[in-house]
């Protein structure tokens, strides 16, 4: 297989978060830009880079741009943005450090990587906050301009780490990034402060040189981003080029690196880099198209889900209605109202918002209307860690309502998988007339990876039939419409939308009589309805869980959601070390795949790693009486593959 670079299809740079209108077709991007002769070039199979700086230093943008360059070059990649909840924490402090880690390779990779090979530290705080993650021998590029005594003292450096020998174990490149940037921009007539702001582009240029990244995309991106002030655009491009040239000319950087495209890792197709929230947004728009229903989003801004509200709001030309409500409850309320009216209705939120929406989710269970509840999980409880990741809303999604109120739960496993998971959640909601939880998390939401763009004819057909006429004959032969007369196979009730003559009916949260939907306090009817609603969810068609077990292992690792990457990477390490281990990963948490019990019982040991205190483990222990071993981590960050491999090994040997 060979890889080649195509023309971009117009609007570029989604990852940058910039707004773009229609762009004309532009020239080829993604050509590798090679340094000149005279310096050593080493070939690597993978690299992990971490950009770290102050919240205001533009590290996320820098990371996004490096990612786009890398994606267009054809490496496989995985990213981990990590930033504080404060918009601008005090400058130069440890809480204000923002970082972006990128793992790219010439083969398929699964995680953003455990430890950076290269750390770019824009100030002492960034060095201090990140140095512990860099293995000895790693490369560190520091912006020496920021290492003034006061700035160092602010983060507790009594002596300069650049001089006191504490970095002796690393390969340190001391670069006065700010000074060099200002120098490079002196002809632009900018103030020192203004010019210094482009230092992130200088750093990006330098790293682009080191790793032979294509540069046209970034230059084009900058021109577009600063279209209203071309002088700023040109200044940033000049800083970017100066960074490249600095690598090329200075003796400090004697070696550059090549990481070949991951040609064999990718099936044929057209690819783009995509974050989880963008993929999820596109999945919702695709689900609306495939169901031939208008999309309605009722939402209230909350980190890390707001990007979906922003993204969908940009696509009104798809007939997408977005409603920013007065609160979380109104967000889901409006969505439920739209569902009653025949829209594909969605509400997006994070854990605290789910808590507020619980009563309305219960109403949706009772009304049996399709509704997608998207929960981009973050650290909890309460406000918790708004910008960090966690998987601790599983039991809230499963049980967080009054009464017996079963709700299907679907969880994507990677950023790109958010697209398919959204379609799958919509399928279940529409076919079974039920609210459905889509459990993504902060790691998937903000992380990104290459995505093979699907052909439209690969997408599932999600069309539904609204009720059109009477569905029941009374004893006297009268034809009537019964809103709670169910499809015998799916147990779904008819979806009769206002505007349909003859089907006028009333629904509500009070218990309903089977069939007629009239208010009923009859004990036997309530018992029947509770069991029927449960049976409907239990009977939802979900694919069997697949087990990857090439070696006939005795131990199985079972995961769900965003831990797929780290678990798979850990499993590969164990197998490479000769440790047999089987792997299974759940997309459907409710109902579980029909074969799950059998799978679990066929292994001597089941290990369940989760970013919570063992919520899936609790569910499967209760459901299948399997003595699952729970391995947990709740530090707001994804598992690291190496640590997880060690933990799995211990759990197996235990």
């Amino acid at each position: 297989m060979t890889s080649q670079v195509s023309s971009p299809a117009g609007q570029a740079g989604e990852a940058g978060g910039a707004q773009h209108a229609q762009e004309p077709q532009e020239a080829v991007v993604g050509e590798q830009r090679r340094p000149g002769d005279g310096k050593e070039v080493r070939r690597l199979d993978r690299v992990i880079i971490r950009f770290a700086g102050d919240s205001g230093d533009g590290m996320q943008l820098t990371g996004d741009r490096f990612t786009s360059e890398t994606a267009s070059f054809g490496n496989d990649l995985s990213t981990l943005p990590n930033f504080p909840a404060e918009i601008r924490a005090p400058a130069g402090t440890l809480p204000g450090v923002s970082s972006f880690q990128l793992h790219f390779a010439d083969h398929d990779i699964l995680t953003p990587g455990d430890a950076p090979n290269v750390l770019v530290a824009m100030n002492p705080a960034a060095l201090k906050a990140n140095i512990a993650d860099v293995p000895r021998g790693g490369e560190i590029i520091v912006n020496t301009d920021e290492f003034a005594k006061r700035a160092m003292a602010k983060v507790g450096y009594e002596t300069s780490p650049l001089q006191d020998g504490s970095l002796d174990a690393y390969r340190v490149h001391e670069v006065p990034l700010t000074t060099l940037t200002i120098e490079a921009l002196k002809e632009f007539g900018l103030s020192r402060k203004e010019a210094g702001r482009s230092k992130n582009m200088f750093a990006l240029g330098l790293l682009s040189w080191m790793y032979h990244r294509p540069t046209e995309g970034t230059e084009r991106f900058l021109r577009r981003k600063f279209a209203k002030s071309p002088a700023i655009a040109e200044a940033n491009i000049a800083a970017f080029r100066a960074g490249w040239n600095f690598g090329e000319t200075t003796e400090d950087f004697a070696v550059s690196y090549e990481v070949a495209p991951a040609s064999s890792a990718f099936p044929p197709g057209t690819y783009r880099n995509i974050s989880g929230n963008l993929a999820l947004s596109y999945g919702l728009i695709a689900a609306a198209r495939q169901s031939d229903l208008p999309l309605y989003l009722g939402s209230y801004p909350i980190t890390p889900a707001s990007d979906i509200l922003h993204e969908l709001s940009r696509h009104k030309n798809f007939g997408v209605r977005t409603f920013q409500a007065e609160d979380e409850i109104a967000g889901i309320g409006a969505a439920l109202g739209a569902a009653f009216g025949g829209s594909l209705a969605v509400t997006t939120t994070s854990g605290p918002g789910v808590a507020l929406k619980s009563e309305t989710i219960g109403l949706a269970v009772s009304l049996e209307l399709p509704l997608l509840v998207v929960d981009i999980q973050r650290g909890g409880p309460s406000t918790g860690l708004p910008t960090k990741t966690e998987q601790a809303d599983l039991l809230q999604a499963m049980y967080g309502r009054n009464g017996e109120a079963p709700v299907p739960v679907v969880a994507p496993r990677t950023p790109a998988d958010c697209f398919d998971a959204a379609l799958d959640a919509a399928r279940i909601a529409l076919a079974y007339r039920t609210p459905v939880f889509l459990l993504s998390d902060g790691y998937l939401a903000n992380g990104s990876e290459p995505w093979r763009i699907p052909e439209l004819d690969e997408l599932p057909d999600l069309r539904v039939q609204f009720a059109g006429g009477p569905n029941h004959e009374l004893a006297d032969g009268t034809e009537v419409f019964w809103p709670y007369k169910r499809d015998p196979h799916t147990l779904a009730r008819p979806w009769a939308v206002p505007g349909t003559p003859g089907l006028e009916h009333r629904i509500g949260g009070i218990e309903k009589q089977d069939g007629t939907g009239n208010i009923s306090y009859d004990p036997a009817n309530h018992d029947f309805m509770v069991r029927t609603r449960q049976a409907k969810v239990d009977g939802i068609a979900v694919p069997e869980v697949e087990v990857d077990d090439p070696d006939g292992a005795r131990a199985l690792v079972l995961g769900w959601g965003s831990t797929y990457g780290p678990i798979t990477a850990a499993v590969r390490r164990l197998r490479a070390a000769g440790v047999p281990i089987a792997q299974a990963h759940l997309r459907h948490l409710n109902p579980f795949p029909a074969n799950l019990g059998e799978v679990l019982r066929s292994y001597d040991r089941v290990v369940v790693p989760e970013m919570n205190l063992g919520q899936l483990a609790t569910l499967i222990r209760a459901r299948y009486l399997v003595d699952a071993h729970s391995h947990t981590q709740v530090n707001g960050m994804p598992f690291k593959a190496e640590q997880l491999a060690t933990a799995l090994k211990e759990a197996i040997d235990d």
């Binding site: 299809a9 267009s72 690819y271 728009i285 209605r321 739209a338 439209l456 206002p498 006028e504 009333r506």
Partner: protein, 349 residues
């Protein structure tokens, strides 16, 4: 047909009150004011001449919120306080529907207060009927956010401690374009107010004083008893001088110093100074001042009728226009193009 309902399909045949009665047994307490309101609404609906299937009643929780079950239209009996939010989603996604919200003083002003004020501010095409009986009925008699200060109830044996909301004042403060008040027992007045509310594009709030004969019986007697009502009720008619009382001996005048409104005995000298009601005044100031004439304890000088009826941009219309504008500017959305946007690269097998 009014502009407010111009997108709602019309009924093909003449309708009667019977067409709007569902087959469900009405389960309010005998003697409840809700019966009169139900009859008035069912009696008024045929006048609108709308296709019955395009009418939706949405309610929250409380005695009044059983209302949708008794209307043979589409309906949803939802959860406590949330009806305006649910109706907002329905109305903003379906301009071909006539959407009515039925709520009570607890539902709309306590647990659902936030949704109410934001619906009013947004001006979604909703007609909100707020049944105010100044008590919690369904939970058996606790004081409500419109109960008078010092109200002795099961939860306040020594008297309630919080001052009541005046729903009309609240709605006016929340930027409502249409605010009216009427009384359950005055079918003619109630129907006329419904008529004007239905014709109003955007959110209309109609406060209906409603007697709870079990837990707060006679709360509005002062407005209903002929002898007392003459002095207590100020009937507002757009374009008419605001006069009331026996022989219309009383009138409302503006204090030239403070701008505030006062009730005075009308004399030949001050007759020309009596305020003429202007429901269409751009500023809500006078409507608000009128709403404040009512004494929350005695209900003396309670204005009824349409206090304010002013055109404002309607949320669902604006939303639909944005969708149309987006198609005009960007073309109809094409999923293939959207998915393939951004920097792409091709892997060849």
């Amino acid at each position: 047909m009014t502009e407010a309902l111009s997108l709602v399909p019309k009924a093909e045949a003449q309708q009667s009150m019977k067409d709007f009665k569902s087959d469900q047994e009405v389960r309010w307490c005998p003697g409840c004011g809700d019966y009169a309101i139900l009859a008035a609404v069912q009696g008024f609906m045929p006048e609108l001449g709308l296709a019955r299937e395009n009418i939706v009643f949405v309610s929250g929780i409380g005695c009044s919120s059983r209302f949708p079950y008794y209307m043979d239209t589409y309906g949803m009996h939802s959860i406590h306080g949330r009806a305006p939010a649910i109706a907002t989603g329905l109305a903003s996604s379906r301009q071909d529907l006539s959407v009515w919200v039925v709520t009570g003083d607890g539902d709309a002003l306590s647990i659902g207060g936030n949704h109410l004020i934001h619906a009013l501010r947004r001006n979604v095409n909703l007609k909100i009927l707020l049944f105010n009986n100044r008590i919690y009925g369904l939970t058996k008699g606790q004081y409500s956010p419109t109960s008078e200060l010092g109200k002795v109830t099961k939860s306040t044996p020594m008297g309630s401690l919080d001052a009541p909301f005046n729903p009309v004042s609240l709605a006016l403060g929340a930027e409502a374009g249409f605010v009216a008040r009427t009384v359950d027992s005055d079918r003619k007045h109630l129907t006329e107010v419904l008529r004007q509310a239905a014709a109003h594009p955007g959110t209309a709030l109609v406060e209906i004083y409603q007697n709870c004969n079990i837990f707060n019986d006679g709360a509005f007697d002062v407005l209903k008893d002929k002898a007392q009502a003459e002095e207590a009720v100020i009937r507002l008619e757009h374009g008419e001088p605001i006069r009331f009382g026996a022989g219309l001996a009383k009138g409302v005048v503006r204090d030239p110093g403070t701008g505030d409104l006062h009730v005075v005995d009308v004399t030949p000298e001050n007759e020309s100074a009596v305020l003429v009601h202007d429901a269409h005044a751009a500023s809500p100031t006078t409507a608000f001042a009128l709403s404040r004439l009512a004494d929350p304890d005695t209900l003396h000088h309670t204005p009824i009728g349409v206090l304010r009826s002013v055109r404002r941009p309607v949320y669902d219309t604006l939303m639909a226009e944005q969708l149309e504008a987006a198609v005009e500017q960007q073309g109809k959305g094409d999923l293939g193009t959207l998915l393939a946007g951004g920097d792409t690269w091709t892997v060849v097998g």
